[in-house]
Protein backbone atom coordinates (compact mmCIF):
# COMPACT_ATOMS: atom_id res chain seq x y z
CA UNK A 1 0.00 0.00 0.00
CA UNK A 2 1.36 3.43 -0.90
CA UNK A 3 2.13 5.86 1.87
CA UNK A 4 -0.79 8.24 1.76
CA UNK A 5 -2.65 10.82 3.78
CA UNK A 6 -6.43 10.72 3.31
CA UNK A 7 -9.05 13.31 4.22
CA UNK A 8 -12.72 12.39 3.97
CA UNK A 9 -14.80 15.51 3.37
CA UNK A 10 -18.58 15.52 3.81
CA UNK A 11 -20.71 18.43 2.65
CA UNK A 12 -24.40 19.01 1.92
CA UNK A 13 -26.09 19.44 -1.44
CA UNK A 14 -26.61 23.02 -0.22
CA UNK A 15 -22.93 23.64 -0.96
CA UNK A 16 -24.11 23.79 -4.60
CA UNK A 17 -27.70 25.05 -4.18
CA UNK A 18 -27.65 27.65 -1.42
CA UNK A 19 -30.66 28.55 0.72
CA UNK A 20 -33.24 30.28 -1.46
CA UNK A 21 -31.57 29.51 -4.79
CA UNK A 22 -33.61 27.65 -7.42
CA UNK A 23 -30.67 25.47 -8.46
CA UNK A 24 -29.73 26.71 -11.92
CA UNK A 25 -26.98 24.49 -13.30
CA UNK A 26 -24.75 27.44 -14.02
CA UNK A 27 -25.00 28.65 -10.42
CA UNK A 28 -24.29 25.14 -9.11
CA UNK A 29 -21.20 25.02 -11.31
CA UNK A 30 -20.06 28.42 -9.96
CA UNK A 31 -20.34 27.14 -6.38
CA UNK A 32 -18.60 23.90 -7.38
CA UNK A 33 -15.77 25.87 -8.98
CA UNK A 34 -15.14 27.85 -5.76
CA UNK A 35 -15.33 24.70 -3.65
CA UNK A 36 -12.98 22.91 -6.06
CA UNK A 37 -10.36 25.65 -5.67
CA UNK A 38 -10.41 25.15 -1.87
CA UNK A 39 -10.28 21.37 -2.18
CA UNK A 40 -7.38 21.43 -4.64
CA UNK A 41 -5.51 23.46 -2.02
CA UNK A 42 -5.75 20.44 0.29
CA UNK A 43 -4.47 18.19 -2.49
CA UNK A 44 -1.50 20.56 -2.72
CA UNK A 45 -0.85 19.87 0.99
CA UNK A 46 -0.42 16.17 0.22
CA UNK A 47 -3.90 14.87 0.97
CA UNK A 48 -5.89 12.42 -1.08
CA UNK A 49 -9.55 13.38 -0.82
CA UNK A 50 -12.67 11.27 -0.55
CA UNK A 51 -15.70 13.51 -1.06
CA UNK A 52 -19.14 12.52 0.25
CA UNK A 53 -21.78 15.01 -0.86
CA UNK A 54 -25.41 15.34 0.15
CA UNK A 55 -28.26 15.95 -2.30
CA UNK A 56 -31.14 17.59 -0.38
CA UNK A 57 -32.02 20.47 -2.73
CA UNK A 58 -31.12 18.48 -5.85
CA UNK A 59 -33.24 15.46 -5.00
CA UNK A 60 -35.99 17.91 -4.05
CA UNK A 61 -35.90 19.23 -7.61
CA UNK A 62 -35.86 15.66 -8.99
CA UNK A 63 -38.96 14.84 -6.96
CA UNK A 64 -40.75 17.91 -8.34
CA UNK A 65 -39.82 16.91 -11.91
CA UNK A 66 -41.13 13.45 -11.20
CA UNK A 67 -44.48 14.38 -9.62
CA UNK A 68 -45.16 17.09 -12.23
CA UNK A 69 -44.79 14.55 -15.06
CA UNK A 70 -46.31 11.47 -13.47
CA UNK A 71 -49.30 11.54 -15.82
CA UNK A 72 -46.91 11.14 -18.77
CA UNK A 73 -43.97 8.96 -17.65
CA UNK A 74 -43.58 6.43 -14.84
CA UNK A 75 -42.58 7.73 -11.40
CA UNK A 76 -39.12 7.07 -9.97
CA UNK A 77 -38.47 5.32 -6.71
CA UNK A 78 -36.52 7.30 -4.16
CA UNK A 79 -33.44 5.09 -4.41
CA UNK A 80 -33.36 5.73 -8.17
CA UNK A 81 -33.69 9.49 -7.57
CA UNK A 82 -30.67 9.26 -5.26
CA UNK A 83 -28.80 7.27 -7.93
CA UNK A 84 -29.62 10.01 -10.47
CA UNK A 85 -28.17 12.68 -8.20
CA UNK A 86 -25.00 10.64 -7.68
CA UNK A 87 -24.62 11.01 -11.46
CA UNK A 88 -25.61 14.64 -11.83
CA UNK A 89 -23.91 16.11 -8.72
CA UNK A 90 -20.89 13.86 -9.28
CA UNK A 91 -20.69 15.21 -12.83
CA UNK A 92 -20.80 18.85 -11.65
CA UNK A 93 -18.17 18.27 -8.96
CA UNK A 94 -15.91 16.10 -11.11
CA UNK A 95 -15.83 18.58 -14.00
CA UNK A 96 -15.11 21.48 -11.59
CA UNK A 97 -12.36 19.46 -9.89
CA UNK A 98 -10.81 18.29 -13.17
CA UNK A 99 -10.73 21.92 -14.32
CA UNK A 100 -9.10 23.02 -11.04
CA UNK A 101 -6.60 20.14 -10.90
CA UNK A 102 -5.37 20.28 -14.47
CA UNK A 103 -2.65 17.66 -14.82
CA UNK A 104 -2.03 17.45 -11.07
CA UNK A 105 -4.24 14.45 -10.45
CA UNK A 106 -7.13 12.23 -11.45
CA UNK A 107 -10.73 12.49 -10.22
CA UNK A 108 -13.20 9.63 -10.20
CA UNK A 109 -16.88 9.42 -9.24
CA UNK A 110 -18.24 6.05 -8.25
CA UNK A 111 -21.81 4.81 -7.84
CA UNK A 112 -22.22 3.73 -4.21
CA UNK A 113 -24.84 1.31 -2.88
CA UNK A 114 -25.09 1.32 0.92
CA UNK A 115 -26.67 -1.50 2.89
CA UNK A 116 -29.39 -0.84 5.44
CA UNK A 117 -31.30 -3.38 7.49
CA UNK A 118 -34.88 -4.26 6.64
CA UNK A 119 -35.33 -4.61 10.40
CA UNK A 120 -34.16 -1.06 11.12
CA UNK A 121 -37.08 0.42 13.08
CA UNK A 122 -36.55 3.73 11.26
CA UNK A 123 -37.77 2.04 8.02
CA UNK A 124 -41.31 1.90 9.35
CA UNK A 125 -41.24 5.47 10.64
CA UNK A 126 -40.88 7.94 7.77
CA UNK A 127 -39.56 11.10 9.41
CA UNK A 128 -37.01 12.75 7.12
CA UNK A 129 -38.62 15.60 5.13
CA UNK A 130 -37.71 15.78 1.42
CA UNK A 131 -38.80 18.08 -1.40
CA UNK A 132 -40.98 21.20 -1.30
CA UNK A 133 -44.01 22.26 0.75
CA UNK A 134 -47.41 21.51 -0.76
CA UNK A 135 -50.92 22.87 -0.32
CA UNK A 136 -53.37 20.53 1.45
CA UNK A 137 -55.12 19.85 -1.89
CA UNK A 138 -51.91 18.95 -3.76
CA UNK A 139 -50.64 16.92 -0.79
CA UNK A 140 -53.84 14.88 -0.76
CA UNK A 141 -53.50 14.29 -4.52
CA UNK A 142 -49.90 13.09 -4.18
CA UNK A 143 -50.79 10.77 -1.32
CA UNK A 144 -53.41 9.14 -3.55
CA UNK A 145 -51.37 9.02 -6.79
CA UNK A 146 -47.89 8.27 -5.47
CA UNK A 147 -48.65 6.78 -2.06
CA UNK A 148 -46.36 9.27 -0.35
CA UNK A 149 -46.28 9.86 3.40
CA UNK A 150 -46.95 13.52 4.09
CA UNK A 151 -46.84 15.53 7.30
CA UNK A 152 -48.01 19.05 8.01
CA UNK A 153 -45.33 21.50 8.99
CA UNK A 154 -47.02 24.13 11.13
CA UNK A 155 -47.90 27.08 8.92
CA UNK A 156 -45.76 26.13 5.92
CA UNK A 157 -47.86 23.37 4.37
CA UNK A 158 -47.45 19.66 3.80
CA UNK A 159 -44.19 17.93 3.10
CA UNK A 160 -43.21 14.42 2.04
CA UNK A 161 -41.40 12.39 4.72
CA UNK A 162 -39.33 9.28 4.04
CA UNK A 163 -37.52 6.73 6.20
CA UNK A 164 -33.89 7.42 7.06
CA UNK A 165 -32.33 4.15 8.26
CA UNK A 166 -28.77 3.90 9.59
CA UNK A 167 -26.19 2.67 7.06
CA UNK A 168 -24.59 -0.66 7.96
CA UNK A 169 -22.03 -1.13 5.23
CA UNK A 170 -20.85 0.58 2.05
CA UNK A 171 -20.97 -2.31 -0.43
CA UNK A 172 -17.96 -1.16 -2.45
CA UNK A 173 -15.89 0.35 0.40
CA UNK A 174 -12.83 -1.79 -0.42
CA UNK A 175 -12.98 -0.66 -4.01
CA UNK A 176 -13.32 3.00 -2.99
CA UNK A 177 -10.28 2.48 -0.77
CA UNK A 178 -8.28 1.09 -3.70
CA UNK A 179 -9.35 4.02 -5.91
CA UNK A 180 -7.67 6.40 -3.46
CA UNK A 181 -4.36 4.75 -4.41
CA UNK A 182 -4.91 5.75 -8.03
CA UNK A 183 -6.85 9.02 -7.95
CA UNK A 184 -6.13 12.19 -6.00
CA UNK A 185 -9.85 12.77 -5.49
CA UNK A 186 -12.61 10.16 -5.24
CA UNK A 187 -16.30 11.10 -5.07
CA UNK A 188 -18.40 8.35 -3.43
CA UNK A 189 -21.44 7.86 -1.20
CA UNK A 190 -23.24 10.77 -2.89
CA UNK A 191 -26.57 11.64 -1.28
CA UNK A 192 -25.57 9.31 1.58
CA UNK A 193 -25.46 6.40 -0.87
CA UNK A 194 -28.22 4.46 -2.59
CA UNK A 195 -30.00 2.50 0.16
CA UNK A 196 -30.19 -1.24 -0.53
CA UNK A 197 -31.17 -4.27 1.54
CA UNK A 198 -30.52 -8.00 1.26
CA UNK A 199 -33.77 -9.86 0.64
CA UNK A 200 -32.85 -13.53 0.42
CA UNK A 201 -30.28 -13.83 -2.38
CA UNK A 202 -31.12 -10.46 -3.86
CA UNK A 203 -29.92 -6.93 -3.27
CA UNK A 204 -32.78 -4.49 -3.77
CA UNK A 205 -33.27 -0.74 -3.57
CA UNK A 206 -35.03 0.63 -0.49
CA UNK A 207 -37.47 3.58 -0.52
CA UNK A 208 -35.45 5.68 1.90
CA UNK A 209 -32.59 8.12 2.19
CA UNK A 210 -29.42 7.78 4.24
CA UNK A 211 -27.79 10.62 6.15
CA UNK A 212 -24.57 11.40 4.28
CA UNK A 213 -22.65 12.13 7.51
CA UNK A 214 -23.15 8.56 8.77
CA UNK A 215 -22.11 7.11 5.40
CA UNK A 216 -19.09 9.40 5.32
CA UNK A 217 -18.06 8.12 8.78
CA UNK A 218 -18.32 4.49 7.58
CA UNK A 219 -16.19 5.34 4.54
CA UNK A 220 -13.69 7.30 6.65
CA UNK A 221 -13.13 4.24 8.85
CA UNK A 222 -12.97 1.90 5.82
CA UNK A 223 -10.30 3.95 4.04
CA UNK A 224 -8.37 4.55 7.30
CA UNK A 225 -8.69 8.34 6.93
CA UNK A 226 -6.36 10.66 8.82
CA UNK A 227 -8.91 13.45 8.90
CA UNK A 228 -12.70 13.59 8.71
CA UNK A 229 -13.82 17.06 7.68
CA UNK A 230 -17.52 17.89 7.91
CA UNK A 231 -18.51 21.08 6.09
CA UNK A 232 -21.69 22.82 7.21
CA UNK A 233 -23.35 26.24 7.32
CA UNK A 234 -21.52 27.41 10.47
CA UNK A 235 -17.83 28.02 11.21
CA UNK A 236 -18.00 26.36 14.64
CA UNK A 237 -20.16 23.94 16.57
CA UNK A 238 -21.79 25.85 19.42
CA UNK A 239 -23.13 25.05 22.85
CA UNK A 240 -26.58 26.56 23.47
CA UNK A 241 -26.80 27.40 19.72
CA UNK A 242 -29.13 30.35 19.03
CA UNK A 243 -29.33 31.35 22.70
CA UNK A 244 -27.89 34.65 23.99
CA UNK A 245 -25.05 32.82 25.77
CA UNK A 246 -24.14 30.51 22.86
CA UNK A 247 -20.48 29.48 22.92
CA UNK A 248 -18.35 28.22 20.03
CA UNK A 249 -16.34 25.06 20.69
CA UNK A 250 -12.75 24.88 19.44
CA UNK A 251 -12.03 21.35 20.55
CA UNK A 252 -13.79 18.57 22.42
CA UNK A 253 -13.07 14.96 23.25
CA UNK A 254 -15.42 12.16 22.29
CA UNK A 255 -16.55 11.96 25.94
CA UNK A 256 -17.36 15.68 25.98
CA UNK A 257 -19.15 15.46 22.63
CA UNK A 258 -21.25 12.56 23.95
CA UNK A 259 -22.17 14.52 27.04
CA UNK A 260 -23.19 17.64 25.07
CA UNK A 261 -25.19 15.45 22.70
CA UNK A 262 -27.04 13.83 25.63
CA UNK A 263 -27.70 17.30 27.06
CA UNK A 264 -29.48 18.27 23.82
CA UNK A 265 -27.03 20.86 22.49
CA UNK A 266 -27.06 19.40 18.97
CA UNK A 267 -30.51 19.05 17.37
CA UNK A 268 -31.39 15.86 15.45
CA UNK A 269 -31.59 16.39 11.68
CA UNK A 270 -29.03 19.20 11.82
CA UNK A 271 -25.86 19.23 13.97
CA UNK A 272 -26.77 15.99 15.76
CA UNK A 273 -25.89 13.53 12.97
CA UNK A 274 -22.61 15.36 12.29
CA UNK A 275 -21.55 15.04 15.91
CA UNK A 276 -22.63 11.38 16.00
CA UNK A 277 -20.72 10.68 12.78
CA UNK A 278 -17.67 12.47 14.20
CA UNK A 279 -17.85 10.48 17.43
CA UNK A 280 -18.10 7.21 15.48
CA UNK A 281 -15.00 8.04 13.40
CA UNK A 282 -12.91 9.40 16.31
CA UNK A 283 -13.78 6.35 18.40
CA UNK A 284 -13.24 3.64 15.79
CA UNK A 285 -10.35 5.17 13.93
CA UNK A 286 -8.83 7.55 16.44
CA UNK A 287 -8.36 10.21 13.74
CA UNK A 288 -9.22 13.86 13.98
CA UNK A 289 -12.66 15.29 13.15
CA UNK A 290 -13.01 18.88 12.01
CA UNK A 291 -16.37 20.64 11.62
CA UNK A 292 -16.50 24.03 9.90
CA UNK A 293 -17.87 26.00 6.91
CA UNK A 294 -16.64 25.93 3.29
CA UNK A 295 -15.46 29.53 3.78
CA UNK A 296 -13.32 28.67 6.84
CA UNK A 297 -12.00 25.35 5.51
CA UNK A 298 -8.45 26.51 4.77
CA UNK A 299 -8.16 28.38 8.10
CA UNK A 300 -9.60 25.42 9.98
CA UNK A 301 -7.09 23.13 8.28
CA UNK A 302 -4.33 25.37 9.55
CA UNK A 303 -5.74 25.08 13.08
CA UNK A 304 -7.15 28.60 13.27
CA UNK A 305 -10.90 27.89 12.93
CA UNK A 306 -13.53 25.19 13.20
CA UNK A 307 -14.44 22.67 15.89
CA UNK A 308 -12.28 19.61 16.46
CA UNK A 309 -13.40 16.31 17.97
CA UNK A 310 -10.54 14.12 19.20
CA UNK A 311 -10.47 10.68 20.78
CA UNK A 312 -10.43 10.58 24.58
CA UNK A 313 -6.82 9.36 24.54
CA UNK A 314 -5.67 12.29 22.45
CA UNK A 315 -7.73 14.68 24.56
CA UNK A 316 -5.99 13.39 27.70
CA UNK A 317 -2.52 13.64 26.20
CA UNK A 318 -2.83 17.28 25.19
Amino acid sequence: MPDRKVAVIAFGGNALIREGEPGLEQTQMEHATKLAAELVGLVGQGYRLLLVHGNGPQVGNSLIRMEESVAKVPPLSLHTCVAETQGSIGCCLELALRSALGNRGEVVTVFTPVEVSEDDPRIDKPSKPVGPFYSPYRADHLVRVLDWDMVEDAGRGYRRVVPSPKPIRVLNAALVDSLLDRAGIVIAGGGGGVPVARIGDRIVGVEAVIDKDYTAALLAVAVRADLFLILTAVDHVRLRFGKPDETPIDRMTVAEAERYLAEGHFPPGSMGPKIEAGIAFATERGGEVLITSVEKMAEAFAGRAGTRIVSNEKGNRS
Copy 2:
Protein backbone atom coordinates in the same frame (compact mmCIF):
# COMPACT_ATOMS: atom_id res chain seq x y z
CA MET B 1 -0.74 -6.83 -14.72
CA PRO B 2 -2.85 -9.86 -13.93
CA ASP B 3 -3.54 -12.38 -16.67
CA ARG B 4 -7.07 -11.58 -17.68
CA LYS B 5 -9.57 -12.02 -20.47
CA VAL B 6 -11.78 -8.98 -21.06
CA ALA B 7 -15.03 -8.68 -23.01
CA VAL B 8 -16.49 -5.23 -23.66
CA ILE B 9 -20.25 -5.48 -24.09
CA ALA B 10 -22.31 -2.64 -25.57
CA PHE B 11 -26.09 -2.62 -25.47
CA GLY B 12 -28.84 -0.04 -25.87
CA GLY B 13 -31.06 1.48 -23.20
CA ASN B 14 -33.79 -0.52 -24.98
CA ALA B 15 -32.38 -3.66 -23.33
CA LEU B 16 -34.18 -2.33 -20.22
CA ILE B 17 -37.09 -0.39 -21.78
CA ARG B 18 -38.30 -2.43 -24.76
CA GLU B 19 -40.12 -0.96 -27.75
CA GLY B 20 -43.54 0.26 -26.65
CA GLU B 21 -42.92 -0.09 -22.90
CA PRO B 22 -43.38 3.00 -20.72
CA GLY B 23 -40.31 2.22 -18.63
CA LEU B 24 -41.67 1.21 -15.24
CA GLU B 25 -38.79 0.64 -12.85
CA GLN B 26 -40.01 -2.81 -11.95
CA THR B 27 -40.06 -3.86 -15.61
CA GLN B 28 -36.58 -2.43 -16.18
CA MET B 29 -35.34 -4.44 -13.21
CA GLU B 30 -36.94 -7.61 -14.64
CA HIS B 31 -35.12 -7.10 -17.96
CA ALA B 32 -31.90 -6.29 -16.06
CA THR B 33 -32.24 -9.48 -14.03
CA LYS B 34 -32.51 -11.64 -17.19
CA LEU B 35 -29.60 -9.81 -18.82
CA ALA B 36 -27.55 -10.20 -15.63
CA ALA B 37 -28.06 -13.98 -15.65
CA GLU B 38 -26.64 -14.14 -19.21
CA LEU B 39 -23.74 -11.86 -18.35
CA VAL B 40 -22.82 -13.79 -15.23
CA GLY B 41 -22.58 -16.85 -17.47
CA LEU B 42 -19.74 -15.12 -19.32
CA VAL B 43 -18.04 -14.33 -16.01
CA GLY B 44 -18.25 -18.06 -15.30
CA GLN B 45 -16.32 -18.65 -18.53
CA GLY B 46 -13.44 -16.58 -17.18
CA TYR B 47 -14.20 -13.19 -18.69
CA ARG B 48 -14.03 -9.85 -16.96
CA LEU B 49 -16.77 -7.65 -18.35
CA LEU B 50 -16.84 -3.97 -19.20
CA LEU B 51 -20.46 -2.95 -19.85
CA VAL B 52 -21.30 0.15 -21.92
CA HIS B 53 -25.04 0.80 -21.94
CA GLY B 54 -27.08 3.27 -23.97
CA ASN B 55 -29.84 5.43 -22.50
CA GLY B 56 -32.23 6.36 -25.35
CA PRO B 57 -35.62 5.57 -23.74
CA GLN B 58 -34.43 6.54 -20.24
CA VAL B 59 -33.07 9.95 -21.23
CA GLY B 60 -36.27 10.41 -23.26
CA ASN B 61 -38.23 10.02 -20.01
CA SER B 62 -35.83 12.39 -18.21
CA LEU B 63 -36.41 15.02 -20.88
CA ILE B 64 -40.19 14.68 -20.48
CA ARG B 65 -39.86 15.08 -16.69
CA MET B 66 -37.75 18.15 -17.27
CA GLU B 67 -39.96 19.92 -19.82
CA GLU B 68 -43.16 19.12 -17.90
CA SER B 69 -41.75 20.79 -14.77
CA VAL B 70 -39.81 23.68 -16.29
CA ALA B 71 -42.23 26.26 -14.88
CA LYS B 72 -41.36 25.05 -11.37
CA VAL B 73 -37.71 23.96 -11.32
CA PRO B 74 -34.74 24.86 -13.54
CA PRO B 75 -34.23 22.80 -16.69
CA LEU B 76 -31.34 20.37 -17.00
CA SER B 77 -28.71 20.51 -19.69
CA LEU B 78 -28.42 17.43 -21.84
CA HIS B 79 -25.02 16.44 -20.45
CA THR B 80 -26.51 16.50 -16.94
CA CYS B 81 -29.44 14.34 -18.10
CA VAL B 82 -26.88 11.84 -19.43
CA ALA B 83 -25.03 11.98 -16.09
CA GLU B 84 -28.32 11.26 -14.29
CA THR B 85 -28.93 8.18 -16.42
CA GLN B 86 -25.38 6.94 -15.73
CA GLY B 87 -26.51 6.92 -12.09
CA SER B 88 -29.99 5.48 -12.51
CA ILE B 89 -29.28 2.84 -15.19
CA GLY B 90 -25.98 1.98 -13.53
CA CYS B 91 -27.91 1.46 -10.28
CA CYS B 92 -30.45 -0.87 -11.92
CA LEU B 93 -27.74 -2.92 -13.68
CA GLU B 94 -25.38 -3.02 -10.70
CA LEU B 95 -28.06 -4.23 -8.28
CA ALA B 96 -29.22 -6.91 -10.77
CA LEU B 97 -25.61 -8.02 -11.34
CA ARG B 98 -24.72 -8.04 -7.63
CA SER B 99 -27.79 -10.20 -7.00
CA ALA B 100 -26.81 -12.59 -9.82
CA LEU B 101 -23.11 -12.75 -8.87
CA GLY B 102 -23.52 -13.29 -5.14
CA ASN B 103 -20.04 -13.71 -3.71
CA ARG B 104 -18.48 -14.59 -7.07
CA GLY B 105 -17.26 -11.11 -7.88
CA GLU B 106 -17.45 -7.37 -7.42
CA VAL B 107 -19.37 -4.91 -9.62
CA VAL B 108 -18.57 -1.21 -9.94
CA THR B 109 -20.25 1.61 -11.84
CA VAL B 110 -18.14 4.62 -12.70
CA PHE B 111 -19.11 8.09 -13.91
CA THR B 112 -17.50 8.59 -17.32
CA PRO B 113 -16.77 11.93 -18.99
CA VAL B 114 -15.85 11.60 -22.67
CA GLU B 115 -14.03 14.30 -24.60
CA VAL B 116 -15.39 15.64 -27.87
CA SER B 117 -13.95 18.42 -30.01
CA GLU B 118 -15.56 21.85 -30.06
CA ASP B 119 -14.51 21.89 -33.73
CA ASP B 120 -16.38 18.70 -34.55
CA PRO B 121 -18.63 19.77 -37.45
CA ARG B 122 -21.40 17.56 -36.00
CA ILE B 123 -21.70 20.00 -33.04
CA ASP B 124 -23.23 22.63 -35.28
CA LYS B 125 -25.58 20.18 -36.97
CA PRO B 126 -28.08 18.75 -34.47
CA SER B 127 -29.30 15.56 -36.13
CA LYS B 128 -29.76 12.88 -33.45
CA PRO B 129 -33.45 12.61 -32.39
CA VAL B 130 -34.08 12.32 -28.63
CA GLY B 131 -37.27 12.11 -26.57
CA PRO B 132 -40.89 11.85 -27.70
CA PHE B 133 -42.88 13.24 -30.63
CA TYR B 134 -44.66 16.55 -30.05
CA SER B 135 -47.58 18.36 -31.64
CA PRO B 136 -46.68 21.46 -33.67
CA TYR B 137 -48.09 23.67 -30.89
CA ARG B 138 -46.09 22.02 -28.11
CA ALA B 139 -42.97 21.89 -30.29
CA ASP B 140 -43.22 25.63 -30.94
CA HIS B 141 -43.62 26.25 -27.19
CA LEU B 142 -40.54 24.16 -26.33
CA VAL B 143 -38.45 25.90 -29.00
CA ARG B 144 -39.32 29.23 -27.38
CA VAL B 145 -38.98 28.19 -23.72
CA LEU B 146 -36.03 25.78 -23.88
CA ASP B 147 -34.36 26.84 -27.15
CA TRP B 148 -34.50 23.27 -28.47
CA ASP B 149 -33.85 22.35 -32.08
CA MET B 150 -36.88 20.48 -33.43
CA VAL B 151 -37.47 18.72 -36.73
CA GLU B 152 -40.64 17.36 -38.22
CA ASP B 153 -40.73 13.63 -38.73
CA ALA B 154 -43.14 12.99 -41.61
CA GLY B 155 -46.53 12.14 -40.16
CA ARG B 156 -45.40 11.51 -36.58
CA GLY B 157 -44.94 15.06 -35.32
CA TYR B 158 -41.98 17.10 -34.14
CA ARG B 159 -38.98 15.75 -32.32
CA ARG B 160 -36.01 17.32 -30.58
CA VAL B 161 -32.67 16.82 -32.32
CA VAL B 162 -29.28 17.25 -30.69
CA PRO B 163 -25.67 17.15 -31.89
CA SER B 164 -23.89 13.79 -31.79
CA PRO B 165 -20.13 14.44 -32.05
CA LYS B 166 -17.54 11.66 -32.28
CA PRO B 167 -15.82 10.78 -28.99
CA ILE B 168 -12.07 11.50 -28.96
CA ARG B 169 -11.02 10.17 -25.59
CA VAL B 170 -12.55 8.63 -22.46
CA LEU B 171 -11.08 10.86 -19.73
CA ASN B 172 -10.80 8.08 -17.14
CA ALA B 173 -9.99 5.17 -19.49
CA ALA B 174 -6.81 4.24 -17.57
CA LEU B 175 -8.78 4.13 -14.35
CA VAL B 176 -11.52 2.00 -15.91
CA ASP B 177 -8.76 -0.33 -17.10
CA SER B 178 -7.36 -0.62 -13.57
CA LEU B 179 -10.85 -1.31 -12.17
CA LEU B 180 -11.04 -4.42 -14.37
CA ASP B 181 -8.15 -5.82 -12.32
CA ARG B 182 -10.25 -5.53 -9.16
CA ALA B 183 -13.86 -6.06 -10.24
CA GLY B 184 -15.37 -8.85 -12.32
CA ILE B 185 -17.79 -6.41 -13.92
CA VAL B 186 -17.27 -2.69 -14.57
CA ILE B 187 -20.06 -0.43 -15.88
CA ALA B 188 -18.68 2.66 -17.65
CA GLY B 189 -19.39 5.02 -20.55
CA GLY B 190 -23.14 4.86 -19.84
CA GLY B 191 -25.29 6.66 -22.41
CA GLY B 192 -22.12 6.93 -24.53
CA GLY B 193 -20.49 8.98 -21.78
CA VAL B 194 -21.04 12.56 -20.62
CA PRO B 195 -19.78 14.78 -23.48
CA VAL B 196 -17.20 17.33 -22.36
CA ALA B 197 -14.84 19.68 -24.19
CA ARG B 198 -11.67 21.54 -23.23
CA ILE B 199 -12.27 25.30 -23.30
CA GLY B 200 -8.97 26.90 -22.33
CA ASP B 201 -8.05 25.48 -18.91
CA ARG B 202 -11.54 24.25 -18.21
CA ILE B 203 -13.41 21.02 -18.91
CA VAL B 204 -17.07 21.79 -19.58
CA GLY B 205 -20.19 19.80 -20.40
CA VAL B 206 -21.39 19.90 -24.02
CA GLU B 207 -25.07 19.97 -25.06
CA ALA B 208 -24.87 16.77 -27.08
CA VAL B 209 -25.04 13.00 -26.90
CA ILE B 210 -22.38 10.49 -27.92
CA ASP B 211 -23.11 7.20 -29.66
CA LYS B 212 -22.40 4.47 -27.10
CA ASP B 213 -20.97 2.10 -29.74
CA TYR B 214 -18.15 4.54 -30.59
CA THR B 215 -17.38 5.09 -26.89
CA ALA B 216 -17.44 1.33 -26.30
CA ALA B 217 -14.91 0.87 -29.13
CA LEU B 218 -12.59 3.49 -27.56
CA LEU B 219 -12.85 1.73 -24.20
CA ALA B 220 -12.36 -1.71 -25.78
CA VAL B 221 -9.08 -0.53 -27.30
CA ALA B 222 -8.02 1.21 -24.06
CA VAL B 223 -8.56 -1.88 -21.89
CA ARG B 224 -7.02 -4.20 -24.54
CA ALA B 225 -10.23 -6.24 -24.79
CA ASP B 226 -10.16 -9.73 -26.26
CA LEU B 227 -13.75 -9.51 -27.44
CA PHE B 228 -16.07 -6.64 -28.33
CA LEU B 229 -19.68 -7.79 -28.14
CA ILE B 230 -22.38 -5.48 -29.50
CA LEU B 231 -25.91 -6.44 -28.47
CA THR B 232 -28.74 -5.23 -30.67
CA ALA B 233 -32.31 -6.08 -31.70
CA VAL B 234 -31.30 -8.64 -34.36
CA ASP B 235 -29.44 -11.95 -34.12
CA HIS B 236 -27.30 -11.27 -37.19
CA VAL B 237 -26.13 -8.37 -39.28
CA ARG B 238 -27.74 -8.70 -42.73
CA LEU B 239 -26.93 -7.64 -46.26
CA ARG B 240 -29.89 -5.99 -48.04
CA PHE B 241 -31.70 -5.82 -44.64
CA GLY B 242 -35.49 -5.78 -45.07
CA LYS B 243 -35.36 -6.74 -48.75
CA PRO B 244 -36.71 -10.08 -50.02
CA ASP B 245 -33.18 -11.37 -50.67
CA GLU B 246 -31.69 -10.24 -47.34
CA THR B 247 -28.80 -12.44 -46.18
CA PRO B 248 -27.41 -12.90 -42.67
CA ILE B 249 -23.64 -12.59 -42.30
CA ASP B 250 -21.81 -15.07 -40.09
CA ARG B 251 -18.37 -13.60 -40.47
CA MET B 252 -16.72 -10.76 -42.36
CA THR B 253 -13.28 -9.20 -42.44
CA VAL B 254 -12.73 -5.50 -41.80
CA ALA B 255 -12.20 -5.02 -45.55
CA GLU B 256 -15.51 -6.70 -46.32
CA ALA B 257 -17.32 -4.71 -43.61
CA GLU B 258 -15.90 -1.49 -45.05
CA ARG B 259 -17.07 -2.42 -48.52
CA TYR B 260 -20.60 -3.30 -47.36
CA LEU B 261 -20.73 -0.06 -45.35
CA ALA B 262 -19.72 1.97 -48.43
CA GLU B 263 -22.37 0.13 -50.46
CA GLY B 264 -25.04 1.33 -48.00
CA HIS B 265 -26.02 -1.98 -46.42
CA PHE B 266 -25.88 -0.56 -42.88
CA PRO B 267 -28.04 2.55 -42.27
CA PRO B 268 -26.62 5.47 -40.25
CA GLY B 269 -28.19 5.82 -36.80
CA SER B 270 -28.86 2.08 -36.61
CA MET B 271 -26.47 -0.71 -37.76
CA GLY B 272 -24.00 1.78 -39.29
CA PRO B 273 -22.39 3.00 -36.03
CA LYS B 274 -22.11 -0.59 -34.74
CA ILE B 275 -20.23 -1.70 -37.85
CA GLU B 276 -18.01 1.40 -37.72
CA ALA B 277 -17.28 0.80 -34.03
CA GLY B 278 -16.53 -2.87 -34.78
CA ILE B 279 -14.19 -1.93 -37.63
CA ALA B 280 -12.35 0.55 -35.39
CA PHE B 281 -11.79 -2.06 -32.67
CA ALA B 282 -10.84 -4.94 -35.04
CA THR B 283 -8.41 -2.65 -36.86
CA GLU B 284 -6.71 -1.03 -33.85
CA ARG B 285 -6.77 -3.95 -31.48
CA GLY B 286 -7.02 -6.96 -33.79
CA GLY B 287 -9.58 -8.58 -31.47
CA GLU B 288 -12.83 -10.20 -32.43
CA VAL B 289 -16.13 -8.34 -32.79
CA LEU B 290 -19.42 -10.13 -32.28
CA ILE B 291 -22.81 -8.58 -33.08
CA THR B 292 -25.97 -10.34 -31.94
CA SER B 293 -29.11 -10.10 -29.75
CA VAL B 294 -29.37 -10.53 -25.97
CA GLU B 295 -31.31 -13.74 -26.60
CA LYS B 296 -28.58 -15.27 -28.79
CA MET B 297 -25.65 -14.04 -26.69
CA ALA B 298 -24.72 -17.42 -25.17
CA GLU B 299 -25.05 -19.25 -28.51
CA ALA B 300 -23.09 -16.54 -30.29
CA PHE B 301 -20.36 -16.83 -27.67
CA ALA B 302 -20.15 -20.54 -28.42
CA GLY B 303 -19.75 -19.75 -32.13
CA ARG B 304 -23.22 -20.86 -33.20
CA ALA B 305 -24.92 -17.48 -33.80
CA GLY B 306 -24.26 -13.81 -34.43
CA THR B 307 -22.08 -11.92 -36.88
CA ARG B 308 -18.31 -11.76 -36.41
CA ILE B 309 -15.98 -9.06 -37.71
CA VAL B 310 -12.31 -10.08 -37.77
CA SER B 311 -9.16 -8.24 -38.79
CA ASN B 312 -8.02 -8.72 -42.39
CA GLU B 313 -5.02 -10.76 -41.18
CA LYS B 314 -7.23 -13.18 -39.25
CA GLY B 315 -9.65 -13.33 -42.19
CA ASN B 316 -6.79 -14.34 -44.50
CA ARG B 317 -5.48 -16.99 -42.15
CA SER B 318 -8.72 -18.90 -41.82
